[in-house]
């Protein structure tokens, strides 16, 4: 048997599975987003734009902007925290490198709900901090808590690609920068940063995508003023049972995220090509 045909056969089960359980459902969501809910609460497929018009409604538009804002804030904070940590581990980690990076990853295998809940236990109105210091500071139910929850939730996604980029970088490049009389800052700006930019980009996307769609942080750490688009979608599909509107929200979010996703996928394709070449 020819190798190509043999190998192509291997693509069929997984490909078919992804087609039926990933592509088809997303197409269904797209189709339903033009539908409506009838008087019995039944979702009906149609060709209306009502759901999309509702998106710009003053009830919902701020939620969309808020989601993007919170997610962007999380990306910036993750970068500010994650870059120095990745830098330290990659450059000064020495033989502890693998242990340190494993320590960074470890907490992310603690259930996301539990991690979020741990912050409530710590910072809640009757949590540990307020108890120990006998204060009544309101941490939870603020926008800061929600953004903080997102940062804590997805930080590893920022650190890992930056770490990988730094780890690959040749220290001789820094020497060269120094030899050319670059100050530490200039060397960082003109040598290190451009060399790790792909990692920064990958990390930013990997944090931004789940953060935009998240509803756990806003539900548990935020109040009614911190509702995000993920919460709206979840409510439409569960509590208020307006699936067509939920579908439109989902599609709108996906459309917004596509720009970011394609950025990431282009970079990944380049890397994949190098890896499989």
């Amino acid at each position: 048997m020819n190798e190509n045909r043999f190998a192509t056969g291997f693509l069929i089960p997984g490909g078919l599975w992804l087609l039926l359980l990933f592509v088809v459902p997303v197409v269904l969501v797209l189709a339903l987003s033009f539908g409506y809910t009838d008087d019995l609460g039944e979702a009906i497929y149609d060709t209306r734009l009502d759901n999309y018009e509702r998106l710009v409604d003053p009830d919902y538009l701020p939620v969309l902007f808020r989601s993007a804002g919170f997610a962007l804030g999380a990306v910036v904070l993750c970068l500010l925290i994650g870059y120095p940590v990745a830098y330290y581990i990659a450059v000064f980690g020495g033989r502890w490198k693998n242990v340190l990076i494993a320590l960074v990853v470890l907490p992310f295998f603690v259930n996301y709900l539990i991690r979020t809940y741990a912050w409530i236990a710590m910072l809640g109105d009757d949590g540990l901090v307020n108890g120990v210091f006998d204060t009544s500071i309101r941490f939870i139910n603020t926008p800061y808590a929600v953004v903080g929850g997102l940062v804590y939730g997805f930080l590893a996604f920022m650190i890992l690609p930056i770490y990988a980029a730094l780890d690959r970088m040749d220290p001789a490049l820094i020497e060269a920068g120094k030899d050319l009389y670059g100050s530490p800052w200039e060397t960082f700006r003109h040598v290190t940063w451009p060399h790790t930019f792909q990692g920064v980009l990958a990390g930013s996307v990997l944090v931004f995508l789940p953060a935009v769609g998240d509803f756990v942080a806003a539900s548990l750490l935020g109040g009614p003023e911190e509702v995000m688009v993920g919460n709206l979608i979840q409510q439409q599909f569960q509590a208020s049972d307006n699936w067509p509107f939920g579908a439109a929200l989902t599609i709108a979010m996906m459309a917004f995220l596509l720009i970011w996703m394609s950025l990431y996928l282009r970079a990944a394709a380049r890397e994949g090509k190098e890896a499989t070449a």
Binding site: V24, P25, V85, I114, M122, E274
Partner: protein
């Protein structure tokens, strides 16, 4: 590596980072052994919250359900994902490059999109929400992880060994079974354990596709947290942490135990040979 600059504050910054990273988790573990309900002070060691956890029949059912889901997901996703990886690396078709990229999309799709669309599909085809629907959803979003991990291993392997095997008269199928597959084992096992951990921990997909009962543990935790902070959650959380850490630890260590030189971390991140 003296070439890099070492700003003095960096070391302190990293220490503070690790403190903040682990403080909440240490707190959960510590207070899971608290003898009182308090989350503010530790009143002595006790296992009462673990007893509450394991004595509750419905929580026990949830734990078993979570493990069942994760095991089935692990097996099916690992098989499908490995096959997909082999096809993607070895088949040279016009749309190989496209397929290689499309396969990553499930990884970058927000879980809520995945959950909502899976729910819609199951409802449309009239499938009753149950453990089966959760498993179907979990498998769908685990396949890509396996493919990424195994693909990197396969690419690093090169095809010379396979060519040699064919030269010695083995058929394609024998070569795959006796040469390729054994070389891929570390990556396959690591990927499988990763799937187990991801599925066991997953909340969003399960939340959208779960039936009435039994519900997987994370869905139960969600309900409990929404009703207010309860000490039992500490015990459940600690217990789940142990299971996830075990499976990830195994994923990191197994390649080494199997006598390979490469770091498990690299295998797991699909970064081999890159």
């Amino acid at each position: 590596m003296r070439a890099f600059d070492r700003p003095r504050f960096l070391r302190v910054f990293v220490w503070i980072f690790f403190v903040f990273l682990f403080a909440p988790i240490v707190l959960v573990i510590l207070f899971s052994f608290n003898s009182s309900r308090s989350l503010q002070q530790f009143d002595g060691f006790s296992l009462r919250w673990y007893e509450t956890f394991f004595e509750s029949e419905s929580l026990r059912d949830s734990l078993i359900a979570s493990i069942q889901i994760a095991l089935i997901t692990m097996v099916v996703a690992t098989i499908l994902g490995t096959m997909l990886a082999y096809g993607l690396v070895r088949a040279r078709t016009r749309w190989s490059d496209t397929a290689n990229v499309l396969m990553l999309i499930p990884l970058v799709t927000p879980e809520i999109v995945a959950g909502a669309s899976a729910l819609l599909l199951f409802t449309q085809v009239g499938l009753q929400l149950s453990l089966t629907t959760i498993v179907l959803a979990h498998i769908t979003f685990s396949i890509s992880y396996v493919t990424v991990v195994v693909r990197a291993r396969l690419a690093a392997l090169g095809r010379q060994v396979e060519d040699a095997s064919m030269d010695l008269g083995a058929t394609r199928w024998q070569t795959f079974r006796l040469v390729t597959l054994p070389a891929l084992w570390p990556a396959i096992i690591a990927a499988g354990l990763l799937c187990f951990a991801l599925s066991f921990d997953d909340f969003v997909l399960s939340f959208f596709t779960t039936g009435e009962s039994p519900q997987p543990l994370p869905v139960r935790i969600w309900t409990q947290i929404r009703f207010g902070v309860r000490p039992t959650i500490n015990a459940i959380g600690t217990f789940m942490l142990v299971i996830s850490t075990l499976s990830i630890g195994l994923a990191l260590l197994l390649p080494r135990l199997l006598g390979r030189r490469e770091s498990g971390l690299k295998v797991l991140l699909g970064r081999e040979g890159a």
